[in-house]
């Protein structure tokens, strides 16, 4: 009896190590951002063709699209007019944008999956490789707790913690289920490569090393210049043909090991970059690359963050803790500092040895590692370029001449009226 129990415990130990490792969601978040961006661009470009692609007046009337398979469902089968199709499409695009930035990810991801499947089932003539991959990746992301990092949902969570205490930090989200979903995506990518490789092994084109030549002679991928070049350097065709199979097969078996993973990942990304550049398969290749991101080790991202933080050095933001409006703004601002690069100091209770209180009465200051102190707008301008979570603000702060010409007086006005603003905004909220 104890033998059986020991065996079961050993099995469970191995099973847990395979599936249920406590993991952060960061690799899946990269996939989320990438897949969301690919979907947004792809379907936004479909907007002028909406009627042709998915309406009853288009290429695929509904009665032809309805399949014998009762499980081939689509919300678009219920869409009867052009305005309904347009509404469906724009809601889908809005959800793509929300998915990218990680806003309300827990339900937006389901809208995306249902939307994507609905488009696919409504017009099967448009359905090709990339849609299959997208369906698989989106479904796994729907199950996974995505949106817990690199997202506005994370910003909102950090902000909620900082509202009570500006210095509060929120630990990185990790869960065993996140580990299981990452593993599922990894298995999906490995299975895809495995079947892709072995299906090629059965054909003469691949076996004799000619497949890449024939790919570029077909209508979709025809490239006269490349054919001319390949004809004179045919060994490249053989190398590319066998190389494709070798990378696909090697990936399946060597991607799991710590030592070989970076090389296989690099080779897979190289392969897809070639598909994109030479065959015009941008959407497919980018989506595949995002699937491969599930193999990015969280510690690589962690180390990358640490290296960035070290390169930039510590920054100290000195603010007026008595000004409610300033504190509220700081809460928002710091919520985007995912790497926690900015230290804070309330000069009212902890005066700075670098910046005098008299100066602090006029503006917020940022003290840099070399001892320089930047006031107000210049402080924000310096920070947004150096904190990855704030890069989206860079265009606002770095428009030549205009940003400074507008930003500095606006900041100075707000700083000099901060007491009034505190009573209006913070007071009003407190009263409510």
């Amino acid at each position: 009896m104890s033998f059986v129990r020991e065996r079961l415990a050993a099995f469970w130990d191995v099973w847990s190590r395979i599936w249920f490792q406590n993991s952060p969601t960061t690799p899946l978040e990269i996939t989320r951002i990438g897949v969301g961006s690919a979907l947004l661009i792809h379907y936004a470009l479909a907007t002028p063709y909406l009627s042709d692609l998915w309406s009853d007046n288009g290429w695929m009337p509904r009665d032809l699209a309805v399949s014998d398979d009762p499980w081939s469902l689509s919300l678009l089968f219920g869409v009867t007019s052009e305005w309904q199709l347009a509404a469906f499409h724009f809601i889908f695009l809005a959800c793509c944008a929300a998915f990218i930035v990680g806003w309300r990810t827990s339900w937006v991801k389901w809208v995306l999956l249902i939307g994507q499947i609905s488009y696919d089932h409504r017009n099967p003539m448009l359905f090709y490789g990339v849609d299959k991959i997208l369906a698989a990746l989106l479904f796994i992301m729907c199950l996974a707790p995505v949106g817990r990092a690199l997202s506005l949902d994370r910003v909102r969570a950090v902000r909620a913690a900082k509202r009570h205490n500006l210095g509060a930090t929120l630990p990185q989200f990790t869960s065993e289920w996140a580990g299981a979903c990452t593993r599922l995506m990894q298995i999906q990518m490995a299975t895809l490569f495995f079947y892709s490789a072995i299906s090629k092994l059965g054909g003469d084109d691949w076996w004799y090393g000619d497949a890449v030549w024939y790919v570029f002679t077909t209508d979709e991928h025809y490239n006269a210049t490349l054919l001319r070049f390949f004809a004179s350097q045919y060994w490249l065709v053989n190398l590319a043909t066998y190389g494709t199979i070798l990378i696909e097969l090697g990936y399946v078996f060597l991607i799991w090991q710590r030592a070989t993973r970076p090389y296989l990942l690099a080779l897979a990304l190289f392969l897809h970059s070639q598909f994109a550049l030479l065959m015009g398969l941008y959407y497919f290749s980018f989506t595949m690359m995002m699937g491969h991101m599930s193999f990015v080790r969280p510690e690589w991202l962690h180390n990358l963050g640490l290296a960035w933080k070290k390169k930039i050095g510590p920054m100290e933001m000195i603010y007026d803790g008595r000004c409610g409006f300033c504190v509220r703004s700081m809460v928002w601002f710091l919520a985007f500092d995912g790497l926690q690069q900015i230290n804070i100091r309330n000069f009212r209770i902890d005066p700075s040895p670098v910046v005098s209180d008299e100066k602090m009465e006029k503006a917020l200051y940022l003290v840099l590692p070399d001892g320089r102190a930047l006031p107000g707008f210049e402080a924000y301008r310096h920070v947004v370029l150096r904190v990855p979570g704030m890069w989206w603000m860079v265009p606002f702060f770095y428009i030549p001449v205009l940003s400074r010409a507008v930003g500095t007086p606006v900041y100075n006005y707000i700083a000099s009226h901060r007491s009034q603003m505190s009573s209006i905004f913070v007071g009003a909220e407190g009263g409510a």
Binding site: W19, F20, H42, L45, A46, Y49, L53, W59, M60, P61, L64, D69, P70, W71, S72, I117, D120, M125, L126, F127, Y128, G129, K132, A135, A136, F139, I140, L143, A180, R183, L184, I187, Q188, T191, L192, Y195, S196, S199, K200, L201, G202, G203, D204, D205, W206, A211, W213, Y214, V215, T217, T218, D219, E220, Y222, R228, A231, V237, G280, Y282, Y283
Partner: protein
């Protein structure tokens, strides 16, 4: 403790199921895979997980190009290769080709509607009739290229008339 074990059990059952789907969906037909697929099929169909992952396999295969011949009211003929106007950088490159393939593969379903569209599209030519031709690609080898042949030369295609129909007045 029981709740935690139950959670792990449910999670384990699900990851096993999903892994089975990933492995069985593209597996070659066999008694075993067909039997398992029968159980998994509704799930795979609903979520679009039933894929073969056989890109350009087992062989690359030859494509087809759609050619449109517009006959005007004076009996003149104007030939178009509509796919040539598509941009490689826009996804319509694949969508429109998908439509052309549907027309060529199932002309009984799509050719009439396509002809009506082409009549409208080429209204400036005062079309009387449209003929849809499938240009099936023949193999173009390295030797052909070295011999100075042109891939787009008609001798590397087999023409097949799909449909000829009058344009509505």
């Amino acid at each position: 403790m029981i709740r935690q074990r139950l959670t792990y059990l449910i999670m384990s059952l699900f990851v096993t199921w999903q892994t089975l789907v990933m492995i069985v969906a593209p597996a070659p037909d066999s008694y075993l895979s067909d039997a398992i697929r029968k159980v998994l099929q509704p799930y795979m169909s609903l979520l679009r997980l039933d894929s073969q992952w056989d890109f350009f396999a087992p062989n690359v295969g030859e494509g087809s190009r759609l050619r449109v011949i517009v006959e005007d009211k004076d009996g003149g003929q104007h030939t178009f290769n509509p796919a040539q106007q598509l941009s490689w950088f826009h996804p319509s490159y694949f969508w429109v080709r998908g439509w052309y393939y549907a027309i060529m593969d199932n002309p009984e379903l799509y050719a009439d509607a396509a002809i009506a569209r082409f009549c409208k599209q080429h209204a400036a030519l005062h079309p009387a009739a449209i003929t849809l031709i499938e240009m099936q690609e023949e193999r173009f080898t390295r030797e052909d290229e070295l011999a100075g042949e042109d891939r787009t030369d008609p001798k590397f295609f087999t023409a097949k008339t799909i449909k000829h129909a009058q344009c509505p007045e």
